[in-house]
Amino acid sequence: MLQVGLTHFLIVSAILFSLGIYGIVTRKNAVMVLMGIELVLNSANINFIAFSKYGNFGLSGQVIALFVIILAAAEAAIALAIVLNIYKTFSNVNVDEIDHLKE
């Protein structure tokens, strides 16, 4: 019987991280990019929890994961506000077209 261990958690986390990155890099819609960021954050959370459980670190990992969740919520709120403003200014949320910094 296959024992579920640290390696499995890390693999899941890595897959999630890669999916998140993929979403961030490839999606045109700013909201979708934000969702990718959430995936990356959550993959990090899985890592924290896994190391908390299998490592010898006490509860630190779980506490930090809680922090990350709060942070992600705040981040999502601010980021969505930004996106809303971008939409107001440019009438779309396509990150490819919002490249005025270049000039």
Binding site: I21, V33, D96, I98, D99, H100, L101
Partner: protein, 697 residues
């Protein structure tokens, strides 16, 4: 009267004319009668100076009263290089006599001018000028140091410029004023240099201190030559002011001024200042300096007398006569006859002022006719002018019973003694010749002006005796030309109070070896001398006694001869002057044209100055401007070079930097797409690469 009161009165006398000047200048336009104030001020000054003279001569006869204050101090007194400059008065017998003479003549000229200048456009200003002139002259008289002397000396120069050029709208008058001023400056340069020699050595300007130092054997730069040079250089100032050859040319031209001004300037004040200066420095003159002075004086008197023979302008004759008489005084100082020189200064001041004012009276009544060939017969019309003029003429000609005889006789005796003692016989010969010439030309002037028949009837008919304010000064001055004021003995001045008690020859202070033999006192003689003051050797005193009678008879003879010839020519017409002039044409022209001295100066000094200035102008144009332009060209070239450097090297570097940065920027901007996702890809790759390099595991 105490000494300090005396000094205070002198200060008042000095500043009264200045007060008159400022008042008249400031208020003259508003109060037209203000000239009377100026005249009154001079009257007060005259009164005060009479008091001062009386007190000084009676109570302080042998004492010099000095009052001074320190004007400028540099450094601390005992340390070397410290200088303190004093201003102050020295009041001795000569000073008070001069005070009296200057104030008297100035006052009389003021009075005379009231009528003479009436109707002039600048009537009040004229009196202001007279005031400042008198002020300057009084300053010269009162000073006890060379610096103050120099300051007032220049003030006299300035005020004489104003007065000579008073009718400045006439070109000749303004030219004459300029000439007087410039010629005087030439002499003043010498005077200034002489003063500086003394100042360099003694660090003081005060006469008495300088003389004490010289007497103590401290001579400039340790050399007698410098002492001689200092004497001659200071004398140069007198050459200019007292119109000695070769700087006498300004005086005849100065006749362009109003006639009372001529009387003031050329009788008692400005020209006397030069003689007064020599009197003041007499004790520091070496034998060499005195010889130079004597020769210049003698030559001047001869030149001027010969010129005066043929002049036809009444004032020109008097002008040259003045030059000649000044030459006499200077010569007299040069031969050591100090007292007679100063005595002659006084007597001459009176009779020459009288002559000038008399000529002014004639000119006034003849409606500004000055040519004696157009006059004649004025004796009947103007008796007062005639008789006063005659008395002064007798005085200047050296006729006994008149003041001129006394002083002139003394001077001639001095030259005779000098000739006998030193062998310079030329000087007495010139002296006697000039005495004869003077008698001749003065009587020529009198005869042509007052005797005979009138030549210009139109003007003659309008001629009239001058009013009281003009006649009164003439009478006063003529009265002062009579012997009785100076001495009870009409043929010997030495017995008189002027020479016996008032004018004392000071002791020479220069080193013994630089004096004439006859000016060396010796102790033995000092004991023998009654008055205790030994200035000359016994030999000199004896020679003077010896010279007294020959000089008197000779001078009488030449004067009589001169007067006789004048009468022969012009009164009795026994001889024909025109024919003689025709015969001696070259000589006559030589004299008429004033020895061609003006032309000579035009050709040499003036042409020289002009060509020198044109050389300087050329130098300025070509060399100085060339240097300036050259430096401008060089500067332009350098700036062009640096401009090129700036444009190509500096700007090139800057531009290259900018271009390079731009290039680099262009290359790198490709990376900056502005797309967030691209950046994220870069970041991810960068992290991956970093992880590969720094393997933490």
């Amino acid at each position: 009267m105490s000494e300090s009161l005396l000094i205070n009165i002198c200060i008042v006398i000095l500043f009264l004319p200045l007060l008159g000047f400022t008042t008249v200048v400031l208020l003259g336009k508003r109060i037209p009668k203000l000239y009377l104030f100026e005249v009154a001020i001079l009257g007060i000054a005259l009164l005060l100076s009479i008091i001062v003279a009386y007190v000084k001569l009676s109570f302080y006869n042998t004492k010099d009263i000095v009052a001074a204050f320190t004007w400028i101090t540099m450094g601390n007194a005992p340390s070397p290089g410290a200088i303190s400059i004093e201003l102050g008065f020295k009041i001795d017998n000569i000073t008070v006599l001069m005070l009296f003479v200057v104030n008297l003549i100035s006052f009389l000229v003021h009075v005379f001018s009231i009528e003479y200048m009436r109707g002039d456009k600048l009537y009040t200003r004229y009196f202001a000028y007279l005031g400042i002139f008198t002020f300057s002259m009084l300053g010269i008289v009162l000073t006890h140091n060379l610096l103050m002397m120099y300051i007032f000396w220049e003030l006299v120069g300035l005020s004489s410029y104003l007065l000579i050029g008073f009718w400045f709208e006439k070109k000749s008058a303004s030219d004459a004023a300029k000439k007087a001023f410039i010629v005087n400056r030439i002499g003043d340069i010498g005077m200034f240099a002489g003063i500086l020699i003394l100042f360099t050595q003694y660090k003081t300007f005060t006469f008495d201190v300088i003389y004490q130092q010289i007497a103590a054997g401290n001579i400039p730069f340790g050399s007698n030559a410098w002492l001689t040079a200092a004497g001659i250089l200071i004398f140069m100032g007198a050459v200019g002011k007292s119109a000695q050859f070769p700087l006498h040319v300004w005086l005849p031209d100065a006749m362009e001024g109003p006639t009372p001004v001529s009387a003031l300037i050329h009788a008692a004040t400005m020209v006397a200042a030069g003689v007064y200066l020599v009197v003041r420095i007499f004790v520091m003159l070496t034998a060499d300096a005195m010889l130079v002075i004597a020769v210049i004086g003698a030559f001047t008197s001869l030149v001027a007398a010969t010129i005066a023979l043929t002049q036809n302008d009444i004032k020109k004759v008097l002008a040259y006569s003045t030059v000649s008489q000044l030459g006499y005084m200077v010569m007299s100082l040069g031969v050591g006859a100090y007292a007679f020189a100063f005595f002659h200064l006084i007597t001459h001041a009176f009779f020459k002022a009288c002559l000038f004012l008399g000529s002014g009276s004639v000119i006034h009544s003849m409606h500004h006719e000055q040519d004696i060939r157009n006059m004649g017969g004025l004796k009947k019309k103007m008796p007062v002018t005639y008789y006063t003029f005659l008395i002064s003429t007798l005085a200047i000609s050296g006729v006994p019973l008149f003041s001129g005889f006394l002083s002139k006789d003394g001077i001639l005796a001095g030259t005779l003694a000098f000739g006998k003692l030193t062998g310079h016989w030329l000087i007495p010969i010139i002296g006697f010749t000039v005495a004869g010439l003077t008698a001749f030309y003065m009587f020529r002037l009198v005869i042509l002006t007052f005797h005979g028949e009138p030549k210009d009837h139109h003007k003659y008919d309008h001629a009239h005796e001058s009013p009281f304010v003009m006649a009164a000064p003439l009478v006063v001055l003529a009265a002062l030309s009579i012997f009785i004021w100076y001495t009870p003995n009409p043929i010997g001045a030495s017995d008189g109070w002027v020479l016996k008690n008032w004018i004392k020859t000071p002791t020479q202070v220069v080193p013994l070896e630089t004096r004439y033999d006859f000016m060396k006192p010796s102790t033995e003689e000092a004991k023998a001398e009654v008055h205790g003051e030994v200035i000359h050797s016994v030999e000199y005193t004896e020679t003077m006694h010896w010279a007294h009678y020959p000089a008197m008879f000779l001078s009488l003879a030449v004067a009589g001869l001169g007067i006789l010839i004048a009468f022969m020519f012009y009164q009795w017409k026994k001889l024909n002057a025109d024919k003689l002039a025709e015969k001696l044409k070259p000589l006559y022209n030589f004299s008429l044209n004033k020895w061609f001295l003006d032309e000579l100066y035009d050709m040499t000094a003036i042409a020289g100055t002009l060509s020198f200035s044109s050389i300087l102008a050329w130098f300025d144009n070509k060399i100085v401007d060339g240097i300036v332009n050259g430096s401008a060209t060089v500067t332009r070239f350098v700036s062009r070079m640096s401009g090129w450097f700036d444009t190509f090297i500096v700007d090139g570097f800057v531009n290259f930097t900018a271009f390079f940065s731009g290039f680099v920027g262009l290359s790198f901007r490709r990376l900056q797409t502005g797309k967030v996702q691209t950046y994220i890809v870069f970041v991810i790759f960068a992290i991956i690469i970093l992880l590969m390099f720094f393997k933490p595991f």
